[in-house]
Symmetry: C2
Subunit: 420 residues, 2 copies
């Protein structure tokens, strides 16, 4: 089937998803979770085939690990779908209501976006997760995963389709795209009549490709260069905890720290302790001259380092003259993802929050909380550094938009004498 036809069919099916009641959506998502586990034999067999092909092609161990499913991981995926089922329904929520002087009652009410195109790489869990979140918010979804996971994704989609059919929703509401050519992706990204939003998730090259070719709206983030600024009003214990958690608890994710900025007044006290803790955990340090005077193990840092998302156990370190210098550094090198200040000074915290317009700004909390699940959204379809529609972690609500519902009793703008 052509990409255009797939997208049009998804749009049609999405109208039926939008018409489901909250209870209907809960039942559908629970059935999807059950179907994933009922189909575990087929899904794991398909995954084994993907793993064999990937190993034969020489895929790295860490990528193989991301691709691998087993019974426990599949149970986690099903549980994640059940968790999404239990979230509040964002659709139909009245966010504002007022009665105007002329008696018109004006409400803002959330409606689904329509059809979401998810474009992602080799993690088969995204297939079930994204489908569940899009359906929860009343949308259809077009899933374009990586070629390495095609058999796994096909088996997952087959399970989901069984649940959709059982609930009277056309399987086209969750469509897996099996033509993984670049031409097909470009065609998908140009279906302005059928696709309301594209969300790319993966490496920077994939995301730039999507942004370059899309005619449909795209919400994305290229990279997360997250900063921790340690202020002169220092609580040593808090600053060290945020640093170690931010850099070492999971270095390969976008909310890990990439740069440490330290106020010069506390650098000689803080940096040697911080460096010892990081070096002990295998972190490579790259510092400016003032840092290297205090931490001889640090290599010289470059401008390019400051602009690099290492996604690894490497950290850029810089001593700054004051809060404003830290802010200026972040404004220059930041990617609008997540910035953290460690300070005991409320005024400094306020200034940091107000001066920076990144998607997430934190005071005395780890950058690793910059995640939809951790920030109370219940789940996450992605993180946006596009300063439009959604900014920061995106949950089910980000897959809806507010529209106007107006109720009157015959009000008009220009009252005229009525005809006889």
């Amino acid at each position: 089937m052509s990409i255009r036809q797939l997208a049009q069919d998804c749009r049609q099916a999405a109208q039926q998803v939008a018409a489901l009641s909250s209870e209907g959506k809960v039942a559908l998502l629970l059935a999807m979770a059950d179907a994933l586990q009922a189909h575990s034999g087929q899904i794991l067999a398909a995954n084994a085939e993907d793993l064999r092909n990937a190993a034969a092609k020489g895929m790295t161990r860490s990528m193989l690990d991301r691709l691998r499913l087993d019974a426990a991981r599949l149970a986690d995926i099903a549980d994640a779908v059940r968790h999404i089922a239990a979230l509040p329904d964002p659709v139909g929520r009245v966010t504002r209501s007022e009665t105007l002087a002329n008696g018109l009652q004006v409400e803002r009410v959330r409606v689904p976006l329509g059809v979401i195109a998810m474009i992602y790489e080799a993690r088969p869990n995204v297939t079930a997760d994204a489908a569940a979140l899009c359906l929860k918010a009343g949308n259809g979804v077009l899933l374009r995963g990586g070629s390495e996971a095609l058999h796994s994704n096909t088996a997952v989609a087959a399970a989901l389709h069984e649940a959709l059919r059982a609930h009277g929703v056309p399987p086209a509401a969750v469509s897996l795209i099996r033509d993984l050519s670049r031409g097909a992706m470009i065609e998908l990204l140009q279906q302005t009549d059928a696709v309301d939003l594209a969300i790319p998730r993966g490496g920077e090259a994939l995301i730039r490709f999507v942004a370059e070719h899309a005619r449909v709206p795209v919400i994305k983030h290229y990279k997360g260069i997250c900063h921790l600024y340690v202020d002169k009003a220092l609580d040593l214990d808090i600053a060290l905890r945020l640093l170690i958690d931010g850099k070492t608890s999971r270095p390969a994710v976008c909310n890990a720290l990439e740069t440490l900025l330290v106020h010069r007044d506390v650098a000689s006290f803080f940096l040697p302790l911080a460096a010892a803790a990081l070096l002990e955990r295998g972190v490579e340090l790259r510092g400016d001259e003032r840092t290297r005077a205090l931490v001889p193990q640090a290599k010289p840092v470059t401008d390019e380092d400051y602009a690099t998302e290492y996604l690894d156990l490497v950290l850029s370190v810089r001593v700054v003259d004051d809060l404003d210098s830290a802010i200026a550094h972040i404004q220059k090198y930041g990617t609008d993802h997540t910035e953290v200040i460690a300070t005991g000074d409320a005024a400094a915290a306020r200034r940091f929050v107000e001066a920076l317009r990144s998607a997430v700004v934190m005071v005395n909390a780890s950058s690793r909380f910059s995640d939809g699940g951790e920030l109370g959204l219940g789940a996450e379809i992605g993180i946006s550094t596009t300063r439009l529609h959604a900014y920061g972690p995106m949950g089910a609500e980000s897959l809806t938009v507010e529209r106007f519902v107006v109720r009157g009793e015959g009000q008009v703008r220009h009252p005229l004498p009525m005809p006889a």
Copy 2:
């Protein structure tokens, strides 16, 4: 100066706009309004030159009228800026706040988008209006008006720049683009590093050009085919009022009615009365066969008519079997702008509202209220039928986005033993 440089300078200047306090923005906008009136001599002289050039080129009377300024219209423009000054500041507003189980305090706070590119045609009032709304929401703005209004827009911008300078804001925060070539517009629409959003306002050709060439996000509406459905639970007085106001009070605007759908049970009673009132006001009627059986003056309607935004005293009319047929007609021909039901039946109203996902759905109120000023937004930068970010009339708040501010006391995701 190159478009790229203009956009970068605007981005820099926008940071200073974003840093203004609410009071600072009010003072700036009031000064802008005063400057418009203080410069009225220069602005009206520049407008006279535009009018001479336009007349020499054979511009139509109605377009000349839209281009024309006089002292009264300029006073209205200044008053509109004062009105925007007095609106609540959307920036810094905390829209949600919760404390999570781990003690993190998570707030959603509105921040400016950054830089808006406004692309519009020959109405010089948009120049002042758009500048005021963008500044109110803490943004910079790049203004690309029509060539017919270039002298007027230049004079208006000069007045605004005087106020900006007097308030310590670089004039680049409100930049008028003077290179009106297609190449320059395409370049503007590709400044993804500097421009956060493009809003085109004007004819469908302009908007399609913008959508076609933009790499920056675009919020737009192509056309407004607004429908009035007259239900069988008829209040004659209300239905007639909504019809006459919607079609005749200002037919050339996007929230005017283009199509009337009438339930067959009331058609023989309602349509002759409605037709008499409309014909008396010079409206041309185009109807389906059942309509023409009741209203002989109606010409035959075509599928193309149903898909046409007349922007004129012409109305498509169709008799439908029931509410669901009306909904199906709107789903097929609608443009997601504004739909109205006239009914005394609460269940029918609810079904109409729920089944349609247009930006504005109204019960017993005129489509002509589909406007930011009329719906309580205080002012309007445009209307969006892009189902993303903003859907329907857009006020100052639509020029901001919610981000996350998180406050903790040293919380981390993976507590570890601390180093000595």
